[in-house]
Amino acid sequence: MPALFGFSKRLTALQKLLPILSLLALIAIWEGVAVSVNSHVLPTPYSVALVMWQAIGSGQLPYHLGMTLLRLAASFTIAMLMGSAIGIVLGRNKRLNAFFDNWLVIFLNVPALVTIILCYVWLGLVESAAILAVVINKLPNVIVTVREGARALDQDLLDMARCYGFSKRKMLRHVIWPQLHPFVMAATRSGLAIIWKIILVVELLGRSNGMGYQLHLFFQLFDVASILAYTIAFVAVIQVIEILILKPLDNSAHRWRR
Protein backbone atom coordinates (compact mmCIF):
# COMPACT_ATOMS: atom_id res chain seq x y z
CA MET A 1 0.00 0.00 0.00
CA PRO A 2 2.50 2.65 -1.11
CA ALA A 3 -0.15 5.34 -1.45
CA LEU A 4 -1.24 4.92 2.13
CA PHE A 5 2.36 4.99 3.35
CA GLY A 6 2.99 8.23 1.45
CA PHE A 7 -0.11 9.70 3.01
CA SER A 8 0.89 8.76 6.56
CA LYS A 9 4.41 10.10 6.01
CA ARG A 10 3.06 13.45 4.87
CA LEU A 11 0.73 13.41 7.83
CA THR A 12 3.56 12.98 10.36
CA ALA A 13 5.57 15.79 8.77
CA LEU A 14 2.47 17.96 8.95
CA GLN A 15 1.85 16.88 12.53
CA LYS A 16 5.28 18.09 13.53
CA LEU A 17 4.57 21.49 11.98
CA LEU A 18 1.10 21.79 13.49
CA PRO A 19 2.09 23.24 16.89
CA ILE A 20 4.13 25.96 15.21
CA LEU A 21 1.37 26.68 12.72
CA SER A 22 -1.22 26.97 15.46
CA LEU A 23 1.00 29.41 17.35
CA LEU A 24 1.50 31.52 14.23
CA ALA A 25 -2.26 31.45 13.61
CA LEU A 26 -2.90 32.73 17.12
CA ILE A 27 -0.47 35.62 16.61
CA ALA A 28 -2.02 36.37 13.21
CA ILE A 29 -5.52 36.54 14.70
CA TRP A 30 -4.23 38.77 17.48
CA GLU A 31 -2.51 41.04 14.92
CA GLY A 32 -5.66 41.21 12.78
CA VAL A 33 -7.95 42.13 15.66
CA ALA A 34 -5.47 44.62 17.12
CA VAL A 35 -5.04 46.42 13.79
CA SER A 36 -8.77 46.60 13.12
CA VAL A 37 -9.60 47.78 16.67
CA ASN A 38 -6.64 50.17 16.70
CA SER A 39 -6.79 50.99 20.41
CA HIS A 40 -4.10 51.16 23.09
CA VAL A 41 -6.02 48.62 25.21
CA LEU A 42 -5.18 45.95 22.60
CA PRO A 43 -1.62 46.53 21.38
CA THR A 44 -0.24 44.60 18.39
CA PRO A 45 2.12 41.64 18.94
CA TYR A 46 4.98 43.77 17.68
CA SER A 47 4.50 46.55 20.23
CA VAL A 48 4.19 43.94 23.01
CA ALA A 49 7.46 42.36 21.88
CA LEU A 50 9.08 45.78 21.92
CA VAL A 51 7.85 46.44 25.48
CA MET A 52 9.09 43.03 26.54
CA TRP A 53 12.51 43.68 25.05
CA GLN A 54 12.77 47.01 26.89
CA ALA A 55 11.57 45.47 30.17
CA ILE A 56 14.17 42.75 29.89
CA GLY A 57 16.88 45.25 29.00
CA SER A 58 16.06 47.48 31.97
CA GLY A 59 16.23 44.49 34.32
CA GLN A 60 12.70 45.14 35.60
CA LEU A 61 11.12 42.03 34.11
CA PRO A 62 13.90 39.61 35.18
CA TYR A 63 13.83 41.04 38.73
CA HIS A 64 10.08 40.73 39.27
CA LEU A 65 9.86 37.43 37.45
CA GLY A 66 12.74 36.16 39.58
CA MET A 67 11.00 37.19 42.82
CA THR A 68 7.84 35.38 41.75
CA LEU A 69 9.79 32.28 40.77
CA LEU A 70 11.59 32.29 44.13
CA ARG A 71 8.27 32.38 45.96
CA LEU A 72 6.97 29.70 43.64
CA ALA A 73 9.95 27.45 44.33
CA ALA A 74 9.75 27.93 48.11
CA SER A 75 6.01 27.38 48.47
CA PHE A 76 5.98 24.56 45.94
CA THR A 77 8.78 22.67 47.72
CA ILE A 78 7.17 23.05 51.14
CA ALA A 79 3.73 22.05 49.87
CA MET A 80 5.02 19.01 47.97
CA LEU A 81 7.18 17.68 50.82
CA MET A 82 4.57 18.18 53.53
CA GLY A 83 1.70 17.08 51.30
CA SER A 84 3.45 13.89 50.21
CA ALA A 85 4.34 12.95 53.78
CA ILE A 86 0.83 13.61 55.09
CA GLY A 87 -0.71 11.93 52.05
CA ILE A 88 1.29 8.74 52.61
CA VAL A 89 0.36 8.63 56.30
CA LEU A 90 -3.35 9.21 55.63
CA GLY A 91 -3.35 6.71 52.78
CA ARG A 92 -1.89 3.98 54.99
CA ASN A 93 -3.76 4.72 58.24
CA LYS A 94 -7.55 4.38 58.12
CA ARG A 95 -8.20 5.91 61.55
CA LEU A 96 -6.14 9.04 60.99
CA ASN A 97 -7.74 9.39 57.59
CA ALA A 98 -11.25 9.13 59.02
CA PHE A 99 -10.34 11.84 61.52
CA PHE A 100 -8.69 14.29 59.13
CA ASP A 101 -10.88 13.74 56.08
CA ASN A 102 -13.28 16.55 57.06
CA TRP A 103 -10.41 18.98 57.54
CA LEU A 104 -9.27 18.21 54.04
CA VAL A 105 -12.71 18.78 52.57
CA ILE A 106 -12.95 22.13 54.35
CA PHE A 107 -9.50 23.30 53.28
CA LEU A 108 -10.12 22.13 49.71
CA ASN A 109 -13.19 24.37 49.56
CA VAL A 110 -11.92 27.53 51.25
CA PRO A 111 -11.45 30.11 48.46
CA ALA A 112 -7.82 31.00 47.83
CA LEU A 113 -8.56 34.68 48.35
CA VAL A 114 -9.84 34.03 51.88
CA THR A 115 -6.68 32.21 52.98
CA ILE A 116 -4.54 34.94 51.49
CA ILE A 117 -6.42 37.73 53.26
CA LEU A 118 -6.45 35.85 56.58
CA CYS A 119 -2.72 35.12 56.39
CA TYR A 120 -1.95 38.78 55.79
CA VAL A 121 -4.32 39.89 58.57
CA TRP A 122 -2.93 37.43 61.11
CA LEU A 123 0.77 37.54 60.22
CA GLY A 124 1.12 40.99 58.65
CA LEU A 125 2.23 41.89 55.14
CA VAL A 126 5.40 39.79 55.34
CA GLU A 127 7.09 37.23 53.12
CA SER A 128 6.29 34.27 55.38
CA ALA A 129 2.58 35.14 55.27
CA ALA A 130 2.72 35.16 51.48
CA ILE A 131 4.45 31.78 51.30
CA LEU A 132 2.15 30.29 53.95
CA ALA A 133 -0.93 31.42 52.05
CA VAL A 134 0.25 29.66 48.91
CA VAL A 135 1.20 26.52 50.81
CA ILE A 136 -2.20 26.32 52.53
CA ASN A 137 -3.92 26.62 49.18
CA LYS A 138 -1.85 23.93 47.56
CA LEU A 139 -1.40 21.45 50.43
CA PRO A 140 -4.85 19.79 50.42
CA ASN A 141 -4.51 19.06 46.71
CA VAL A 142 -1.17 17.32 47.14
CA ILE A 143 -2.44 15.36 50.14
CA VAL A 144 -5.53 14.10 48.33
CA THR A 145 -3.58 13.04 45.23
CA VAL A 146 -0.73 11.32 47.08
CA ARG A 147 -3.23 9.68 49.47
CA GLU A 148 -4.84 7.96 46.48
CA GLY A 149 -1.42 6.64 45.51
CA ALA A 150 -0.65 5.41 49.00
CA ARG A 151 -4.01 3.60 49.14
CA ALA A 152 -3.29 1.87 45.86
CA LEU A 153 0.12 0.48 46.90
CA ASP A 154 0.52 -3.13 45.81
CA GLN A 155 0.28 -5.24 48.98
CA ASP A 156 1.89 -8.22 47.22
CA LEU A 157 5.07 -6.27 46.55
CA LEU A 158 5.11 -4.85 50.08
CA ASP A 159 4.80 -8.41 51.45
CA MET A 160 7.60 -9.59 49.17
CA ALA A 161 9.88 -6.81 50.42
CA ARG A 162 8.98 -7.53 54.04
CA CYS A 163 9.63 -11.25 53.60
CA TYR A 164 13.07 -10.52 52.13
CA GLY A 165 13.88 -8.13 54.98
CA PHE A 166 14.09 -4.84 53.06
CA SER A 167 15.21 -1.95 55.26
CA LYS A 168 12.89 1.06 55.58
CA ARG A 169 15.05 3.05 53.20
CA LYS A 170 15.20 0.29 50.63
CA MET A 171 11.45 -0.21 50.88
CA LEU A 172 10.76 3.48 50.35
CA ARG A 173 13.18 3.90 47.47
CA HIS A 174 12.60 0.71 45.51
CA VAL A 175 9.08 -0.41 46.37
CA ILE A 176 6.97 2.54 47.52
CA TRP A 177 8.38 5.54 45.67
CA PRO A 178 8.11 4.04 42.15
CA GLN A 179 4.43 3.36 42.81
CA LEU A 180 3.79 6.85 44.18
CA HIS A 181 5.71 8.55 41.42
CA PRO A 182 2.82 8.96 38.94
CA PHE A 183 0.66 10.46 41.69
CA VAL A 184 3.40 12.83 42.84
CA MET A 185 3.94 13.87 39.23
CA ALA A 186 0.22 14.55 38.84
CA ALA A 187 0.32 16.63 42.02
CA THR A 188 3.37 18.47 40.69
CA ARG A 189 1.71 19.30 37.38
CA SER A 190 -1.59 20.45 38.82
CA GLY A 191 0.31 22.10 41.67
CA LEU A 192 2.43 24.23 39.43
CA ALA A 193 -0.64 25.37 37.52
CA ILE A 194 -2.50 26.30 40.72
CA ILE A 195 0.42 27.89 42.51
CA TRP A 196 1.48 30.29 39.85
CA LYS A 197 -2.05 31.59 39.56
CA ILE A 198 -2.45 32.02 43.31
CA ILE A 199 0.96 33.54 43.79
CA LEU A 200 0.09 36.51 41.58
CA VAL A 201 -2.91 37.30 43.76
CA VAL A 202 -0.75 36.98 46.88
CA GLU A 203 1.72 39.47 45.43
CA LEU A 204 -1.00 41.77 44.22
CA LEU A 205 -2.53 42.02 47.69
CA GLY A 206 0.49 42.33 49.92
CA ARG A 207 3.94 42.42 48.35
CA SER A 208 5.98 45.22 46.83
CA ASN A 209 7.63 43.17 44.11
CA GLY A 210 6.95 40.19 41.86
CA MET A 211 4.69 39.63 38.89
CA GLY A 212 1.47 40.20 40.79
CA TYR A 213 2.66 43.55 42.12
CA GLN A 214 3.74 44.67 38.63
CA LEU A 215 0.48 43.58 37.03
CA HIS A 216 -1.42 45.55 39.65
CA LEU A 217 0.67 48.60 38.80
CA PHE A 218 0.11 48.19 35.06
CA PHE A 219 -3.61 47.74 35.65
CA GLN A 220 -3.77 51.09 37.41
CA LEU A 221 -1.88 52.67 34.51
CA PHE A 222 -3.98 50.81 31.91
CA ASP A 223 -0.68 49.61 30.42
CA VAL A 224 -1.97 46.57 28.55
CA ALA A 225 1.21 46.11 26.50
CA SER A 226 3.25 45.57 29.69
CA ILE A 227 0.61 43.24 31.15
CA LEU A 228 0.78 41.06 28.02
CA ALA A 229 4.59 41.21 27.89
CA TYR A 230 4.90 40.00 31.50
CA THR A 231 2.27 37.32 30.97
CA ILE A 232 4.00 35.91 27.89
CA ALA A 233 7.36 35.89 29.67
CA PHE A 234 5.81 34.02 32.59
CA VAL A 235 4.04 31.44 30.44
CA ALA A 236 7.30 30.88 28.56
CA VAL A 237 9.21 30.26 31.79
CA ILE A 238 6.61 27.75 33.01
CA GLN A 239 6.86 25.91 29.68
CA VAL A 240 10.64 25.79 29.98
CA ILE A 241 10.28 24.26 33.45
CA GLU A 242 7.90 21.69 31.99
CA ILE A 243 10.21 20.76 29.12
CA LEU A 244 13.56 20.89 30.91
CA ILE A 245 12.63 19.45 34.31
CA LEU A 246 9.28 17.65 34.39
CA LYS A 247 9.37 15.80 31.04
CA PRO A 248 12.85 14.24 31.62
CA LEU A 249 11.77 13.23 35.15
CA ASP A 250 8.72 11.51 33.70
CA ASN A 251 10.69 9.73 31.01
CA SER A 252 13.36 8.42 33.33
CA ALA A 253 10.74 7.05 35.68
CA HIS A 254 8.84 5.32 32.89
CA ARG A 255 11.74 3.70 31.09
CA TRP A 256 10.70 0.27 32.39
CA ARG A 257 7.28 0.39 30.74
CA ARG A 258 6.72 -1.62 27.62
Partner: protein, 245 residues
Protein backbone atom coordinates in the same frame (compact mmCIF):
# COMPACT_ATOMS: atom_id res chain seq x y z
CA UNK B 1 18.74 -31.90 62.32
CA UNK B 2 15.38 -30.28 61.82
CA UNK B 3 15.36 -27.21 59.63
CA UNK B 4 11.96 -26.19 60.90
CA UNK B 5 9.43 -27.41 63.44
CA UNK B 6 5.95 -26.15 62.79
CA UNK B 7 3.16 -26.37 65.33
CA UNK B 8 0.01 -24.37 64.67
CA UNK B 9 -2.76 -24.93 67.18
CA UNK B 10 -5.21 -22.64 65.52
CA UNK B 11 -5.38 -19.98 62.85
CA UNK B 12 -8.66 -18.21 62.21
CA UNK B 13 -9.62 -15.37 59.95
CA UNK B 14 -11.93 -12.74 61.40
CA UNK B 15 -15.51 -13.71 60.59
CA UNK B 16 -17.59 -11.61 58.25
CA UNK B 17 -20.75 -10.23 59.84
CA UNK B 18 -22.32 -12.38 62.53
CA UNK B 19 -21.09 -15.77 61.41
CA UNK B 20 -18.65 -17.64 63.61
CA UNK B 21 -14.96 -17.46 62.74
CA UNK B 22 -14.07 -20.83 61.29
CA UNK B 23 -10.52 -22.03 61.83
CA UNK B 24 -8.46 -22.14 58.62
CA UNK B 25 -5.76 -24.29 60.21
CA UNK B 26 -6.16 -26.47 63.29
CA UNK B 27 -3.84 -28.88 65.13
CA UNK B 28 -1.24 -28.69 62.43
CA UNK B 29 2.22 -30.02 63.07
CA UNK B 30 5.05 -30.78 60.70
CA UNK B 31 8.80 -31.18 60.94
CA UNK B 32 11.02 -30.28 58.03
CA UNK B 33 14.44 -31.96 58.01
CA UNK B 34 17.51 -30.10 56.85
CA UNK B 35 17.99 -30.39 53.11
CA UNK B 36 14.66 -32.10 52.66
CA UNK B 37 12.31 -31.33 49.77
CA UNK B 38 8.75 -31.57 51.05
CA UNK B 39 5.68 -31.18 48.87
CA UNK B 40 2.43 -30.09 50.49
CA UNK B 41 -0.46 -31.54 48.53
CA UNK B 42 -4.03 -30.55 49.27
CA UNK B 43 -7.26 -29.31 47.76
CA UNK B 44 -7.28 -25.70 46.62
CA UNK B 45 -8.47 -23.23 49.22
CA UNK B 46 -7.43 -25.49 52.10
CA UNK B 47 -5.03 -22.94 53.62
CA UNK B 48 -1.66 -23.77 52.07
CA UNK B 49 -0.86 -20.16 51.17
CA UNK B 50 -1.96 -19.08 54.64
CA UNK B 51 0.52 -21.56 56.11
CA UNK B 52 3.37 -20.27 53.94
CA UNK B 53 2.56 -16.67 54.87
CA UNK B 54 2.76 -17.63 58.54
CA UNK B 55 6.11 -19.36 58.00
CA UNK B 56 7.41 -16.33 56.07
CA UNK B 57 6.50 -14.08 59.00
CA UNK B 58 3.97 -12.14 56.93
CA UNK B 59 1.05 -13.32 59.07
CA UNK B 60 1.67 -13.18 62.82
CA UNK B 61 -1.92 -13.58 63.88
CA UNK B 62 -2.05 -17.25 64.87
CA UNK B 63 -1.73 -19.52 67.87
CA UNK B 64 1.27 -21.79 67.65
CA UNK B 65 5.02 -22.00 67.44
CA UNK B 66 7.51 -22.05 64.61
CA UNK B 67 11.07 -23.06 65.51
CA UNK B 68 13.66 -22.97 62.79
CA UNK B 69 17.01 -24.60 63.51
CA UNK B 70 18.86 -22.47 66.02
CA UNK B 71 17.34 -19.15 65.04
CA UNK B 72 14.04 -17.51 65.90
CA UNK B 73 14.27 -15.43 62.71
CA UNK B 74 15.00 -17.96 60.00
CA UNK B 75 16.10 -16.62 56.68
CA UNK B 76 13.28 -17.30 54.24
CA UNK B 77 13.27 -17.49 50.49
CA UNK B 78 9.75 -17.25 49.14
CA UNK B 79 8.63 -17.97 45.59
CA UNK B 80 5.11 -16.58 45.47
CA UNK B 81 2.37 -17.80 43.19
CA UNK B 82 2.82 -14.63 41.16
CA UNK B 83 6.48 -13.80 40.60
CA UNK B 84 6.15 -10.44 42.41
CA UNK B 85 9.13 -8.84 40.71
CA UNK B 86 9.52 -5.07 40.93
CA UNK B 87 8.53 -3.97 37.42
CA UNK B 88 10.67 -0.81 37.60
CA UNK B 89 13.88 -2.72 38.29
CA UNK B 90 15.73 -4.95 35.85
CA UNK B 91 16.00 -8.70 36.32
CA UNK B 92 19.46 -8.34 37.82
CA UNK B 93 18.45 -5.43 40.07
CA UNK B 94 15.51 -7.48 41.33
CA UNK B 95 17.94 -10.15 42.48
CA UNK B 96 20.53 -7.70 43.83
CA UNK B 97 17.92 -5.94 45.93
CA UNK B 98 17.39 -8.91 48.24
CA UNK B 99 21.14 -9.31 48.83
CA UNK B 100 23.79 -7.56 50.87
CA UNK B 101 26.12 -5.23 49.04
CA UNK B 102 29.07 -7.54 49.83
CA UNK B 103 27.56 -10.47 47.91
CA UNK B 104 29.93 -11.27 45.04
CA UNK B 105 28.51 -10.57 41.59
CA UNK B 106 29.69 -13.99 40.45
CA UNK B 107 27.06 -15.62 42.67
CA UNK B 108 24.29 -13.88 40.74
CA UNK B 109 26.02 -14.72 37.47
CA UNK B 110 26.08 -18.40 38.40
CA UNK B 111 22.41 -18.45 39.33
CA UNK B 112 21.40 -16.62 36.16
CA UNK B 113 23.37 -19.11 34.14
CA UNK B 114 21.87 -22.08 35.96
CA UNK B 115 18.38 -20.78 35.18
CA UNK B 116 19.39 -19.88 31.60
CA UNK B 117 18.62 -16.19 32.05
CA UNK B 118 22.02 -14.60 31.47
CA UNK B 119 20.77 -12.93 28.28
CA UNK B 120 17.90 -11.08 29.92
CA UNK B 121 19.53 -9.81 33.09
CA UNK B 122 19.26 -6.16 32.02
CA UNK B 123 15.65 -6.51 30.88
CA UNK B 124 12.64 -5.14 32.76
CA UNK B 125 10.25 -7.86 34.00
CA UNK B 126 7.32 -6.70 31.85
CA UNK B 127 9.17 -7.99 28.79
CA UNK B 128 9.61 -11.49 30.22
CA UNK B 129 7.31 -14.42 29.67
CA UNK B 130 5.61 -15.89 32.75
CA UNK B 131 7.99 -18.85 32.73
CA UNK B 132 11.01 -16.55 32.73
CA UNK B 133 9.58 -14.33 35.49
CA UNK B 134 9.05 -17.44 37.58
CA UNK B 135 12.66 -18.44 37.05
CA UNK B 136 13.81 -14.99 38.19
CA UNK B 137 11.67 -15.38 41.31
CA UNK B 138 13.29 -18.77 41.94
CA UNK B 139 16.77 -17.25 41.58
CA UNK B 140 15.82 -14.48 43.99
CA UNK B 141 14.71 -17.04 46.57
CA UNK B 142 17.87 -19.15 46.20
CA UNK B 143 20.14 -16.08 46.19
CA UNK B 144 19.47 -15.23 49.84
CA UNK B 145 20.74 -18.70 50.78
CA UNK B 146 17.67 -19.29 52.95
CA UNK B 147 17.26 -21.61 55.91
CA UNK B 148 13.93 -22.61 54.43
CA UNK B 149 12.71 -22.14 50.89
CA UNK B 150 8.96 -21.68 50.47
CA UNK B 151 7.36 -22.22 47.08
CA UNK B 152 3.70 -21.58 46.44
CA UNK B 153 2.64 -23.40 43.26
CA UNK B 154 5.37 -21.74 41.25
CA UNK B 155 4.50 -23.60 38.06
CA UNK B 156 0.76 -23.02 38.06
CA UNK B 157 -0.69 -21.61 34.80
CA UNK B 158 2.42 -22.49 32.82
CA UNK B 159 1.88 -24.72 29.79
CA UNK B 160 3.05 -28.30 30.32
CA UNK B 161 6.39 -28.13 28.42
CA UNK B 162 7.38 -24.85 30.09
CA UNK B 163 6.38 -26.16 33.52
CA UNK B 164 8.47 -29.25 32.89
CA UNK B 165 11.47 -27.20 31.77
CA UNK B 166 11.33 -24.91 34.80
CA UNK B 167 10.84 -27.90 37.06
CA UNK B 168 13.93 -29.61 35.71
CA UNK B 169 15.96 -26.41 36.07
CA UNK B 170 14.74 -26.08 39.65
CA UNK B 171 15.73 -29.68 40.36
CA UNK B 172 19.26 -29.13 38.99
CA UNK B 173 19.65 -25.96 41.00
CA UNK B 174 18.41 -27.62 44.16
CA UNK B 175 20.81 -30.54 43.72
CA UNK B 176 23.72 -28.12 43.33
CA UNK B 177 22.60 -26.07 46.33
CA UNK B 178 20.55 -28.25 48.68
CA UNK B 179 18.06 -26.33 50.78
CA UNK B 180 15.12 -27.33 52.92
CA UNK B 181 12.09 -26.74 50.74
CA UNK B 182 8.36 -26.56 51.39
CA UNK B 183 6.67 -26.75 48.03
CA UNK B 184 2.92 -26.27 47.71
CA UNK B 185 1.08 -27.89 44.83
CA UNK B 186 -2.15 -29.66 44.01
CA UNK B 187 -0.60 -31.64 41.17
CA UNK B 188 0.38 -35.07 42.47
CA UNK B 189 2.63 -35.89 39.47
CA UNK B 190 4.57 -32.69 40.00
CA UNK B 191 4.87 -33.45 43.70
CA UNK B 192 6.21 -36.97 43.07
CA UNK B 193 8.71 -35.63 40.54
CA UNK B 194 10.13 -33.20 43.08
CA UNK B 195 9.68 -34.38 46.64
CA UNK B 196 11.56 -36.47 49.16
CA UNK B 197 8.37 -36.53 51.16
CA UNK B 198 4.72 -35.88 50.33
CA UNK B 199 2.49 -34.33 52.95
CA UNK B 200 -1.22 -34.64 52.26
CA UNK B 201 -3.42 -31.95 53.74
CA UNK B 202 -7.12 -31.95 54.50
CA UNK B 203 -9.63 -29.34 53.40
CA UNK B 204 -10.29 -26.45 55.76
CA UNK B 205 -9.54 -26.51 58.67
CA UNK B 206 -6.24 -27.72 57.33
CA UNK B 207 -4.26 -30.43 59.09
CA UNK B 208 -1.81 -33.15 58.05
CA UNK B 209 -3.60 -36.29 56.88
CA UNK B 210 -0.62 -38.36 55.82
CA UNK B 211 3.14 -38.13 55.32
CA UNK B 212 4.56 -40.43 52.65
CA UNK B 213 8.19 -40.72 51.54
CA UNK B 214 8.87 -40.92 47.81
CA UNK B 215 11.17 -43.87 47.12
CA UNK B 216 11.68 -43.01 43.42
CA UNK B 217 15.40 -42.44 42.77
CA UNK B 218 16.44 -38.89 41.81
CA UNK B 219 17.71 -40.19 38.48
CA UNK B 220 14.22 -41.55 37.71
CA UNK B 221 12.37 -38.32 38.41
CA UNK B 222 12.22 -37.25 34.76
CA UNK B 223 10.85 -40.64 33.81
CA UNK B 224 7.11 -40.23 33.46
CA UNK B 225 6.35 -43.95 33.61
CA UNK B 226 8.13 -44.28 36.95
CA UNK B 227 6.25 -41.26 38.31
CA UNK B 228 2.93 -42.55 37.03
CA UNK B 229 3.57 -46.04 38.44
CA UNK B 230 4.23 -44.62 41.89
CA UNK B 231 1.16 -42.43 41.63
CA UNK B 232 -1.04 -45.44 40.89
CA UNK B 233 0.48 -47.39 43.77
CA UNK B 234 -0.09 -44.45 46.06
CA UNK B 235 -3.71 -44.06 45.10
CA UNK B 236 -4.33 -47.78 45.51
CA UNK B 237 -2.45 -48.04 48.79
CA UNK B 238 -3.99 -44.97 50.43
CA UNK B 239 -7.56 -44.58 49.17
CA UNK B 240 -8.15 -41.75 51.65
CA UNK B 241 -5.91 -39.39 49.68
CA UNK B 242 -8.09 -39.59 46.56
CA UNK B 243 -10.57 -37.17 48.06
CA UNK B 244 -7.78 -34.64 48.66
CA UNK B 245 -6.62 -34.40 45.05
Amino acid sequence: MAAMKIRINCKTYPAAGRSFAKPAIADFSLTLKAGEFVCLVGPSGCGKTTLLNILAGLDKNYDGEIVAGHSTHPKIGYVFQNPRLLPWRTVRENIELVLDKQTPASMIDDLLEAMQLTGVQQVYPERLSLGMSRRVAIIRAFAVNPDVLLMDEPFVSLDAPTARQVRELLMQLWQQRPHSVLFVTHDLREAIALADKLVFLSASPMRVVREISVPVARSERNNETAIEAFRQRLKAGYPDINSLL
